[in-house]
Each structure stands twice: as C-alpha cells, then as structure tokens.
Symmetry: C2
Subunit: 431 residues, 2 copies
C-alpha cells in the first residue's frame, strides 16, 4: 500500500489505546496552557487584528470566533508563540500545535465530543510523527520545518478523522495538503516560526473540507515521483509506517517543563534532586554536552531573555526555589537579583563529551564539605502519573490555580463547551 | 543586492512603460474573460460554496464578496479553471492568474484606481516572471508548479505595490511568502492545478498584509542558504533580474487562443494551415520539444479535461474541424467520439530537441501519399494591434457581444467600480 492508502485507512479505522489517549490528554492540557499563555505575544496580537471581524463556530484562544480554518491558523500560531509546547524527537517537530487546533475547530463546528476531538488530534499527531519519520532528517537538514510540513499532513488526518471522511476522500485531502504544505527553518528566530505551525493547521482544515466538497487532487500527492516527499528531499524511510494503528509513537512525546532553552532542561531536572539540601551551597559544577556551550551558556545574563540561555542563572534559580516553569520567572528583575547573582557566581559549567546532549551531571558541594552528585537523562521515559503531576504544575505556573483546575476538569469531561469557554477566557474561568 | 532587495525596490519605485501597460491591459481583459467563463467549473463552484457567508470589500467573480485574501484565492482558481489564461514561457507559468486577483482585491479594499491596480498587477507579473527565471527550469523539472511558486512572490510584489509598502516591509512580506509558497505539478489534470493559482494569489495578499501589520520573517527568505530557492531546487540564475524596471518581460506574454494546454498551441496554430486538405488523412506526425511529452501527451484521453492535455486528440479535433477555441469543444463526448478517436489513432507524437518549446512541426501524409509539412513558432511576436483584435475575438467568444463591449469599456476607463460590477455579473452587463 502507498503511504496515502496507509494513512487514509489509519484515519478511518484506528482505535487509540488507553495509554496513547492518556498521553494525548496531557498534551491537550499542555497545549491549552501554552496557547493561553501566548495570547499576548506579538505574533498572536497581529493575527488577532488581522482576523478582526471574522465570525464562525470556532473559538480563538483568548476570545472571539472565526471559521474553522481561520481559528486553526490563529490557535496554531498562538500556541507555538512561546515555544513551550510539546516536542517529538523522531518527528523532528512539535506535533500538538499543528493538529489540536484542527481537531478543536472542526469539533466545535460539528458538535463533536471532547473524546472524539481528542482521538482526532491523536490520530493527527501520530500521522505527523510518522510522516516526519518518512520525510526524515534529510528533509529537515535541507531546510524544511517538519512541524509545518509533516504537520500539515497530520493536520489533514486529524480533520479527516473528525469529519469521518471515507478513505477515498482522505486521499484527495492528502493530495491537496501536498500542494499546500510548506514551512522553512529559515524562519527560526522570527514570528515566521509560530506562523508555520498555524499554516500547517490551516492546511489540514482546508484540505479536508475541500476534499469533502469534491475537490480533486493528485492521487498520490505525498509519495509519487513528483509528490511532496521526493520534491522536498524526503528520504521515504521504508519503516516509517510500521505498526501504525498498533504502536503509538505519540506516547513518547516530550513535554517542556522549564520556560527556557531546551539545552538547560537536563540540568534543571537533575537539580530537582537538590531540594533536600538544607545546608549552604558552596559550589556547583554542571557538566553538559559540549554543543550546548555554544547555545545556552551565557555566564552573567543581564535580562530575562538572556537568563533563558544561562546554565549558571537557571541553576541558581532552581537552587533558590524560583519556578523555572513560569514564564514570568524569566524577568530582568530575576536576572539582576543580588541573591540569585551571588548563587550564580558559585556555579561552574564544564563540557563533557561523555554525555549525550540530553544528559547533564551536577555536583554540589555544601558548607560542611558534603558532595552531592545528581544526574538526569531526558531520554528516559517518565511514568504517566509523574508526567501528569508535572503537567499540572506547569499549567498552574502558566495559568494560575483557578484556571488550571478548570482546565483539568474541562479536559477530563466528555463535553467540549467547557473547554471552549476556558479557551475563550470567559469570566467563569478568569481565575 | 540580494534578490529580496532588488524586488522590494522594484515594487516601490518601478514606472511601467506605455507598451508594457498596454500588454497588461490586454492580459486584464483576457483574465476577466477567462474568469467569467470559468465560474461554473467544478473547482469554482466548490470554492464558492466553501466561502458561503463570507463578506468583505473584494468582489468574487460571478457575484458575492469576501475578504481580500479569500477573493484572491477564489478569483485566482476560477480564472485558471479553464486553463485558458495567459502564459509566459520564461516564467514557465501563467502570470496573470496569480497577480491580477491580488491587485484587484486590494484595490477594491483601498479604493485604488484601475490604473494603479493595473500597474500593481504588471509589477507583480514581472516579478513572477523574473523569480520564475531565477528559480529556473530545474525547479520546474523537480516537480514545482511555477505559476504557484514563483507566482506567490509575484503576488506578494503586486500587493506590496498596491499597498505602497516600504522596501523593508516588502522584504518581510517576501520572507512570509517564502514560507507559504507551494504548489506541485503533480496536480496537473486535477482541480489542484487551478487551486494552486489561487493559493499563490492568497499568499500574496496574506504576506503583504501581515508584513504591514508588523509580522517578522526570514530577512532573505527567497535566496538565503535555506531560503525558498535553494530548498526548492532553484538554480539562482545570475541574470534573472538584469534590467528589471527597464525591460518588461511581461511584454512577451502569450495569450491562448485555444482552450487547452499551451504546449499544444504551436501544433494547433500549425494545423490552421491544414484546413485546405481535402483528401483522407492517413497519418500525422507531430514533432515537439521533449519537455512537452511529460506535460500534454495523454495518448488516449477519456475525458474532456484529459483531452486538453493531448496532442493526439487536439490534432484530431483540428483536422476534423472541431473549434479548439471553444471551451464547449472539450467535453467527455468529444474525448470519446468514435470518429475523433479514429483520427487520434493516426497521430504520432515525437520529441525533437531541435525545436524550441514554443515551436511545433507537423507532417501529414494523405491517402494519395502526399506529404504536407506545417510549422509554427509561438515566439514570433504578434503586433499589438493584431493581438488586441484576437483578444477581442476571444472575449466575444467567451462572454458574448454585450459583456465583451462592457469589458472593453471598463478596462479602458480610469475607475474600478465598472470592472467590479462586470465581474460580479451585475444586470447591466449580463448581455
């Protein structure tokens, strides 16, 4: 079977496992929190103004509504604005931002349940990851932003599932997605990066709705000789779709728990083990993979933004109990706080090429001369209960207690309107 | 200067020559006629239904209005639905369908004059052609549809001119276009082909409006190492922008006088010389540039749409007196007509790389053994007066006498509303 046949059949027939569904429910909470925390970012403000006057059945995060494709674009870009959303390393991208906005916008339009929305998002996310693997690292190295390109196909599959498209129609939708899918890594560092995520989501909605309305397209738009894959330096990895529908790659998605550069996360996770230290910390040594020293080793950051790229400052924040999950923690006041700067000056950072780039080792020496060795590997899977607890902490940090509780209730329920109301920032949930 | 700098400056400062403007005015008439004749095509009906409920300042061909980006998408796809619009061979694509919808939609929004709209469309078309040359044949051969890809940049330039963007803002718009531009040749023969033209137009409007609103993007999104060109197999032809602003490539645009793929036109013009043949035709050999064999050499078309991409069937139509200028000639009944199919089976198509892709040679052998050699070169420029007369004939054939006259008046005038009213099919012009 062609990738198009495999994917169309997957969208129509897959039954997610309870475990995959549970992870997707966490990703939904994580996505909502990232989106609600992102509504005042410049890219979100610009897109909201651009959509002024829009109307429709689909909620815009932060209030207002629009047609499904417009809402998907807006919510996709807004939820990626802080770059705090989930990541899948085999996908080489961020799955949720391209697919949840699609499932949500169309579920609101069609009156689907939250569970149906969640399954559609999961199927879309899984398809994004598998298409990302199929396109491969060569596609990414060439300059394509997998979140957007593979994401457009996942978004299309999410829409196909939600709308209950027949396999034949889904293949046409994939063909339309193939002629729309785009997104360059050259946008990194600009608003074009979150915009790319929004474009992928918009493509999913448009491709599925137009295919359902009878629009025709290339029958093998993804895999044919001049389809999306071959024209975009895809490597067509032979095993990309193995076990699709049984094994859920989305179960191994990573969530971000610190509002700073990913290169700091292994150290920060290791430092979670330092909260039992009651003695005065005399010195701290952080060992990390050499490549990170060129990315996030600002020795004495002057601003909150620079602090997001500083081992020494984020280590000090962790040791002094500042919440590194909260965006507001990364302020200029934090960067210049005397107590934090004093702790920062006790931290040394060393390269260790015996470590992978997902590992960190921290050695703390206390006033009494005790040495505490801490280690973390981000690649080690986190049990579901622990992950749930961390997501809950993150949503509290981003949204506050009241809205985080409302989010948990809304995503545990079966009906969608409570979630829509929360996203729109209705007074009941303004906590 | 980088291509981005060159293009941004061109959009801001270029003054078209009277000759280029005159050709663009003919292309505008041609485009209107193609669009109005295309409103009942399936792709147009589907998109119109998809936009149900839309409102805004910009006219949809055939009636109704929408936001500028929506109107650009709809009008771009609708005007390319019949594949009867203008072509530029160095661009390797159809310039007007991607740029006129943009200039028109934004001119209606901003209250610009018809002349300002025409200049913006011309600047966009010229940019599409130059970017098409810069991307080169390698880009096309890889599988990209230049009408859509180069067209998205031309569309962006048309919008930048119409909106009067500063060069800095136009460069951001180009960066946004770079992350949206897409379109595969694999769509040929499906509704995805006209849809591609609409996508390019939509990209132009969105990229320019979002850049004006302050959205940031890759500063050299087209030409950087991982910009659109290098990632999409562009050849970065060094002389692509030579003389930009002084020499107008758009002056050599080709208009179609047969309702089928442009690759067939040189043959059909050559076959105009065959109408004196009264004997039984035994065999026909068509020699054409090799590249066309991958574009329009469907050997035994089953539908009217496929017939538009068939040397053998269109040659049979011409030889049996079927009017290849009439859209209605390309029906499923034509494609399956026994007498036409019998003639079709006498036609052989050969590649001849001694021919340019605008030339064709036809050899006809009759029952008595006579050989008739026919040749045509589309590149032989048609004088403006002759071209005007053929465009007038074409618009009369597509729209009828009354609407064709109204079109001529509307496009000779300085105000836009008469043209908008004609496009909307208002009663005054329902001829």
């Amino acid at each position: 079977m062609s990738p198009e046949d495999i994917l169309a059949r997957f969208a129509a027939t897959a039954t997610p496992t309870p475990e995959a569904r549970a992870v997707m429910r966490l990703s939904l909470r994580d996505w909502v929190a990232c989106g609600m925390a992102g509504v005042d970012e410049p890219v979100s403000r610009i897109l909201r103004a651009h959509l002024a006057g829009a109307t429709g059945p689909s909620t815009l995060i932060g209030g207002g509504s629009a047609r499904p494709a417009e809402a998907a674009l807006f919510n996709g870009a807004t939820s990626h604005a802080l770059d705090y959303d989930d990541t899948h390393f085999a996908h080489i991208g961020h799955p949720s931002v391209a697919v949840i906005p699609v499932a949500l916008a169309l579920a609101e339009q069609t009156g689907a349940t939250l569970d149906a929305m969640l399954d559609a998002a999961l199927i879309g996310a899984e398809a994004s990851i598998r298409v990302g693997i199929w396109l491969g690292r060569g596609h990414y190295e060439t300059g394509f932003h997998q979140t957007a390109t593979a994401g457009a196909f996942g978004a299309t599959l999410a829409a196909a599932r939600l709308l209950g498209l027949e396999a034949r129609t889904t293949r046409m939708a994939i063909g339309l997605a193939a002629t729309r899918a785009s997104g360059l890594k050259a946008q990194f560092g600009t608003m074009g990066k979150p915009y790319n995520a929004g474009l992928a989501a918009e493509t999913g909605v448009e491709a599925a709705l137009l295919a359902r309305a009878g629009m025709t397209a290339a029958a093998r738009g993804l895999s044919d000789l001049q389809g999306f894959g071959p024209t975009h330096q895809g490597t067509a990895a032979a095993d990309a779709f193995d076990g699709l529908g049984e094994d859920w790659s989305m179960s191994s998605v990573s969530h971000k728990f610190h509002a700073c550069c990913h290169g700091l996360h292994a150290m920060l996770e290791a430092l979670a083990g330092a909260d039992r230290i009651e003695e005065q910390v005399e010195s701290v040594t952080v060992a990390t993979h050499p490549r990170w020293l060129r990315v996030c080793a600002i020795a004495a950051p002057k601003t909150g933004l620079e602090a997001k790229f500083s081992y020494r400052m984020t280590a000090a924040m962790a040791l002094r109990g500042v919440d590194t999950a909260a965006i507001s923690s990364f302020s200029d006041a934090t960067a210049t706080d005397p107590a934090l700067c004093a702790m920062r000056d006790r931290v040394a950072v060393l390269a260790d090429d015996g470590l992978s780039d997902m590992q960190a080792r921290v050695t703390i020496t206390t006033a009494s001369g005790a040495r505490i060795e801490l280690f973390h590997d981000l690649d080690a899977q986190m049990p579901l209960a622990a992950r749930t607890e961390r997501i809950d902490r993150k949503t509290r940090a981003l949204l506050g207690e009241a809205r985080a509780n409302a989010l948990r209730q809304a995503t545990d329920g079966a009906a969608l309107p409570a979630l829509s109301a929360l996203l729109a920032g209705k007074p009941d949930y303004s906590g």
